[in-house]
């Protein structure tokens, strides 16, 4: 029910929204919870396990009951706390965790079955008969379990991530946060002020009182106006700081667009990584419920929440309110309700020495012991001494005291300290480097305490930053915090601790009785604190009950570990920008458009996009295109873009010496104008990479790496250089991106190359020369990855597209054309050339038959370890070729024909395969135990995944032109 003249909502701006299919009206500034309460909707959800009717309990992000699904155009967000969701025009929300309607939830039968559903029931109940688990129990449990549901559709919403940096991060904008931000802000420090709610002020928006002689609300408005005017202060409303991490890093979730209708490009949420030199934790405190029988009915709420709904939203959640509280401060809720004309039926105060003087009946030394009302509260039972009596009420405001919101101080494994006076945990100072807890978060419960500690923490930060400022702390209420700890009222029935997960005091006692005495064990056995609210409302009370049941004190019992995030964070926000095109950079070749123009399907090679094949009219499958392209290269000439290979320019007097150190073979003796194949090992003796390096000048080399290992090799070279020979006269830099490079391969390659060079050159096999093409300086290499006479022509990248189009056009006049990755792969398999399919990280030089390439005359990286026992010998799987007439697969394993197929009889595996139109057979490369001694033998190739079982001939890995006559022609 809405009360006239109260609240900070904008009554000139009504907002229509829908809940469970029914239309309602609220005002701008309302949360879904306040608007539903204003419409007298008390029942908003069902509990997790027993499907008990539930209403709004709190007015903040700790809400355990009022979890709803918000339905958007392309998404459905479950477990949205109605207490945080602002209403907007067209908001659609629905209750969750029900079967049928909210009022007649079919799963409410669980409540009657509760004797069988106590803590650990699933460990005990579903154990027998064994066969029933998969067929019966699991499907039923799966359907009943889980909170809320998704749309099942792809979430088209926009999400964002961002980084921010500041001198002082202030977390929370209550009195302590505001004065901290003001102090640091006036001192000229860069301040970020994060406030979880949409409005700044924290508890000052809910409570009355004065600050510095003006009403608290006015003071808030003044401070906020000043902060907004300071260019060095950044105010971030709707932003919850979710975690504290190493070295001043904080995670924060901003609700950017969740309070308005969806708009293109407007992020729903943004996940911030904030780096702060200093942080002030002004997160306040959370009021704690009291456990008594049936304390979970709609209408039973936190006293501070009732006060918030009254003062901030102008809403009273009942007509006859009762208060059950163990502090003086909580009495304000009753007084303010009465002042607003609401009937307060009674105050029940368990403290025998509490004051009995109020403008309503007060029962001192009494406790609430029960409640009634099926879908909403209608009355409570009160016990005073031996007498039990009934009070008619539709709203019970309860308070068991306050827990400082210390979560962030514990995220770096800090343990909090038990404060006997507060009967609560408070932060251990220094638990998070650079973060100071202030105000209620640090146990200073009065407004004065909040202002004084907030100011003091900010002053510390200001001084550490070398700045100066003078800010007076305004006068404010400084009432002592007097409470008698009350966790649970004695009684027989079910008294709830964790509302969201349906954990009662009985469950905790049962856990203790069954030996789960450790708080971490009790938590997992009962699921206490494992719901979306993560025990914010209940953990301390639960461990107090556990402490009592095990005869220990609370500090001795200890707390469970606080972990980030403080509130639920959607994966979409954390991973923002990592979807679709943002998943990884896309690297495009200069020939990309020309290849697409020819309808080449592009495949990913690392981050690169390379043409798979170039289809011709009439070709129905990729294989037809691939076969044609292979034959084209073998008989005429083919063009392929090979720019993806890593290229490293190496210069200096010690360049040759450096290459000798990183390659197994010798490069210092390579003549200028020549190219050599090189093998590179890791220091553990296994193969890192291979490639060709060219000597361009006396002190100038150009190394090529495989596409896959380009980054890896650069990192390796940097390490070797910086760690072992930083003083050598050698410098290197990647030029991969600087050159577009094209393979021209086939018997007609030489004729094609000479047709476009300004002056033809005669290059020997493995030669390199500078050339000019149409006025552009380029480089010509005579190297081959196909086994045919081959050239690679390199020009500065800006000319790449033009040269590719020109080369392809020329090739086509000679019966040739472009070829793609599929043909390139078949060509190199026919020739027995290896790639990272073969040198996959577990392969030694010996395994690929290159042990003789490890020079005996010099040291090199990996040389010593390569001689380790076990890296050579007949027990090693060695590179072989495989030939057969049926399709085969890479990943298949090899066995001796006639033997059983299992792990122990495994003889090796296949790394690359392809149909060879040249040989007229399926060819493969693979590794076979003692393979080189087994050429000519038959092996059985088995691939269970693809259902293959084929006999293959073991061959020398070079099938095509084994003498290399074509290469050297």
């Amino acid at each position: 029910m809405r009360i006239d003249g109260k609240g900070l909502i904008d009554r000139t701006k009504p907002v229509r929204f829908r809940f469970d299919g029914k239309d309602y009206a609220g005002y701008k500034g309302d949360t879904l919870a306040s608007a539903l309460l204003a419409n007298d909707v008390r029942l908003v959800g069902r509990s997790f396990k027993y499907h008990r009717p539930r209403g709004v309990l709190t007015a903040g992000s700790e809400e355990p009951n009022a979890l709803v699904e918000v339905v958007g155009p392309s998404n459905q967000t479950p477990n949205v706390r109605a207490t945080m969701q602002e209403v907007f025009e067209g908001l659609v929300a629905q209750s969750q965790n029900r079967l049928g309607s909210l009022r007649f939830d079919l799963l409410a039968v669980n409540d009657y079955l509760s004797p069988f559903l106590s803590a650990g029931f699933y460990y005990k109940t579903f154990m027998w008969p064994r066969a029933f688990w998969e067929g019966l129990y699991e499907p039923i449990i799966r359907r009943a379990a889980g909170l809320g549901s998704l749309s099942g559709k792809h979430d088209e919403g926009t999400y964002e991530k961002a980084f921010a940096f500041c001198d002082v991060l202030v977390i929370g904008s209550g009195p302590s946060g505001l004065i901290a931000a003001l102090t640091a802000g006036r001192a000229g420090a860069d301040v970020i002020l994060c406030e979880e709610s949409h409005a700044l002020g924290g508890r000052l928006l809910s409570a009355g009182g004065t600050i510095g002689g003006v009403p608290a609300g006015e003071w808030v408005a003044q401070v906020v106006a000043e902060l907004q005017a300071l260019p060095n202060v950044r105010i971030m409303p709707r932003t919850t700081v979710t975690g504290a991490y190493d070295h001043g890093t904080y995670g924060a979730l901003e609700r950017v667009g969740l309070h308005k209708p969806a708009r293109p490009n407007l992020p729903r949420e943004c996940f911030w990584r904030i780096v702060a030199k200093h942080a002030v934790l002004a997160s306040g405190a959370l009021e704690r419920p009291v456990a008594f029988e049936n304390n979970d009915r709609p209408g039973i709420m936190m006293a501070s929440a009732v006060r918030t709904y009254l003062n901030r939203y102008g809403v009273v959640p009942g007509k006859r309110v009762t208060l059950f509280a163990n502090t003086d401060a909580a009495r304000a809720t009753a007084r303010e309700l009465m002042a607003a004309g609401v009937t307060v039926a009674a105050i029940i105060d368990p403290r025998p020495d509490a004051s009995g003087v109020e403008e309503c009946p007060v029962h001192v030394g009494a406790e609430v012991v029960g409640s009634r009302g099926r879908l909403g509260l209608s009355g409570i039972q009160v016990r005073k001494g031996s007498e039990v009596f009934e009070i008619e009420t539709d709203c019970l405001a309860m308070s068991g005291g306050w827990n400082p919101t210390i979560h962030l101080t514990c995220h770096m494994n800090g343990r909090p300290r038990w404060d006997e006076d507060l009967a609560a945990f408070v932060p251990m100072e220094g638990a998070v480097q650079g973060l100071l807890a202030v105000g209620a978060a640090n146990g200073s419960m009065s407004t004065h305490g909040a202002l004084a500690t907030g100011h003091a923490a900010a002053m510390k930060a200001v001084e550490a930053l070398g700045r100066k400022v003078s800010v007076a702390v305004p006068e404010a209420e400084d009432m002592p915090y007097r409470l008698k700890a009350l966790w649970a009222v004695e009684g027989k029935g079910r008294a709830w601790l964790d509302f969201a997960n349906d954990v009662t005091t009985k469950d905790v006692k049962l856990a203790a009785q069954e030996g789960y005495r450790s708080v971490e064990h009790m938590k997992r056995y009962t699921t206490q604190g494992m719901a979306p609210d993560q025990g914010k409302n209940s953990n301390v009370a639960a461990l107090a009950v556990l402490a009592d049941a095990t005869g220990r004190g609370i500090p001795e019992t200890g707390v469970t570990t606080f972990r980030p995030p403080y509130v639920p964070v959607s994966i979409a926000a954390m991973g923002a920008g990592g979807r679709g095109e943002g998943f990884a950079p896309q690297r495009f070749l200069t020939s990309d458009q020309a290849s697409r123009d020819r309808h080449a399907p592009m495949i990913e090679a690392g981050l690169w996009y390379r043409p798979s094949y170039f289809p011709k009219p009439g070709e129905a499958t990729w294989r037809e295109a691939c076969d044609r392209e292979v034959t084209m290269v073998r008989q005429a000439v083919g063009i392929a873009d090979v720019s993806t290979l890593g290229k490293i320019d190496i210069q200096g007097k010690d360049a040759g010496r450096f290459l000798d150190f990183v390659y197994t073979n010798t490069f210092s003796t390579l003549p200028v104008g020549r190219v050599r194949y090189g093998l590179m090992l890791r220091e553990d003796g296994l193969v890192l990479d291979d490639g060709t390096s060219a000597r361009l000048g006396e002190n100038h080399y150009l190394m090529t790496t495989t596409t896959a290992a380009a980054g890896l090799v650069m990192r390796h070279l940097d390490f070797v250089h910086q760690a072992f020979c930083a003083d050598w006269q050698v410098r290197f830099i990647s030029v991969t991106e600087s050159w577009a490079q094209f393979a021209v391969a086939g018997p007609k390659a030489r004729a094609l190359v000479n047709s476009f060079l300004e002056s033809p050159v005669e290059l020997p096999f493995m030669g390199v020369a500078p050339v000019r093409i149409g006025g552009v300086d380029g480089r010509l290499f005579r190297i081959s990855f196909s086994g045919e006479e081959g050239y690679e022509i390199a020009v500065p990248t800006r000319y790449g597209e033009a040269l590719f189009r020109d080369l392809v056009a020329r090739a086509e006049t000679m019966g040739g054309g472009p070829y793609g990755m599929e043909a390139l792969n078949v060509l190199r398999i026919e020739k027995g050339f290896i790639t990272h399919a073969e040198i996959h990280g577990r392969i030694s030089a010996y395994d690929i038959g290159m042990e003789k390439m490890v020079s005996a005359k010099k040291d090199c990286i990996g040389k010593a370890a390569a001689t380790r026992p076990g890296l050579w010998g007949p027990e090693r799987e060695q590179l072989v070729g495989l030939k057969t007439h049926a399709p085969i697969s890479s990943g298949a394993h090899l066995f001796v024909p006639g033997t059983e197929v299992h792990r122990e009889t495994d003889q090796g595996y296949v790394t690359s395969v392809g149909w060879s139109p040249t040989v007229g057979a399926w060819l493969g490369l693979g590794f076979l135990k003692d393979g080189r001694a087994r050429i000519g033998e038959k092996v059985r190739l088995v691939d269970h995944l693809r259902g293959l079982d084929v006999i293959c001939e073991v061959c020398h890995p070079v099938f095509h032109d084994p003498e290399g006559e074509k290469l050297r022609a």
Partner: protein, 181 residues
């Protein structure tokens, strides 16, 4: 004889959304100077012709259309002019290796804060400073050329992704500000 036409990575594209403009810019030749051990004096002498010196870490300097940019330990990029004859350093042409994007306007830092994990506040990253860092998953060189302007050097093959990322962030920042697009 083939006619080779030069093409830049993004063909000089530009776009403005809200108060931020993104554009591919031409910066002329880029040469890497990697100073050899004990090569410092010779390099200093060679650079004198241009009125430039090897920059301190994290800085760049400009003189008459020539720019020298720190890019690493004992390494700098000379941009905008052909490298003069120089002893004491390895010279490597990098002109074609990079695409250069300019991001400018009042919302520049807001846009980059979506992808760049480094403090971009003017006090921490003033005009005349350069840094090597990341733009989402890409390694980049960022030069602060104005209070509200940077130039971002990205590997040429990744230029389209860099463009996509920055443009996406521009859309989100503009939508937050309520700009109708």
């Amino acid at each position: 004889m083939p006619e080779l036409i030069a093409k830049s990575a993004l063909e000089g594209r530009s776009v403005t959304l809200g108060n931020v403009t993104l554009a591919e810019v031409a910066v002329g030749p880029i040469t890497s100077l990697a100073v050899f051990p004990a090569g410092g004096k010779a390099v200093a002498k060679g650079l004198k012709v241009l009125g430039l010196a090897m920059p301190e870490p994290g800085t760049f300097a400009e003189k008459k259309g020539a720019r020298i940019v720190w890019t690493g330990r004992e390494q700098a990029f000379l941009m905008g002019v052909d490298a003069p004859p120089l002893e004491g350093a390895a010279l490597t042409d990098q002109t074609d290796g990079w695409a250069v994007l300019s991001v400018s306007g009042a919302g520049m830092a807001d846009v980059l804060a979506r992808w760049v994990p480094v403090d971009l506040r003017l006090a921490a990253f003033p005009v005349g400073r350069v840094m090597r860092t990341q733009l989402n998953h890409m390694n980049v060189v960022i030069l602060r050329i104005g209070d509200h302007a940077v130039e971002i050097m990205v590997f040429r093959s990744m230029a389209r992704t860099a463009w996509h990322e920055i443009e996406t962030a521009m859309h989100m920042v503009a939508a937050r500000a309520g700009v109708k697009i």
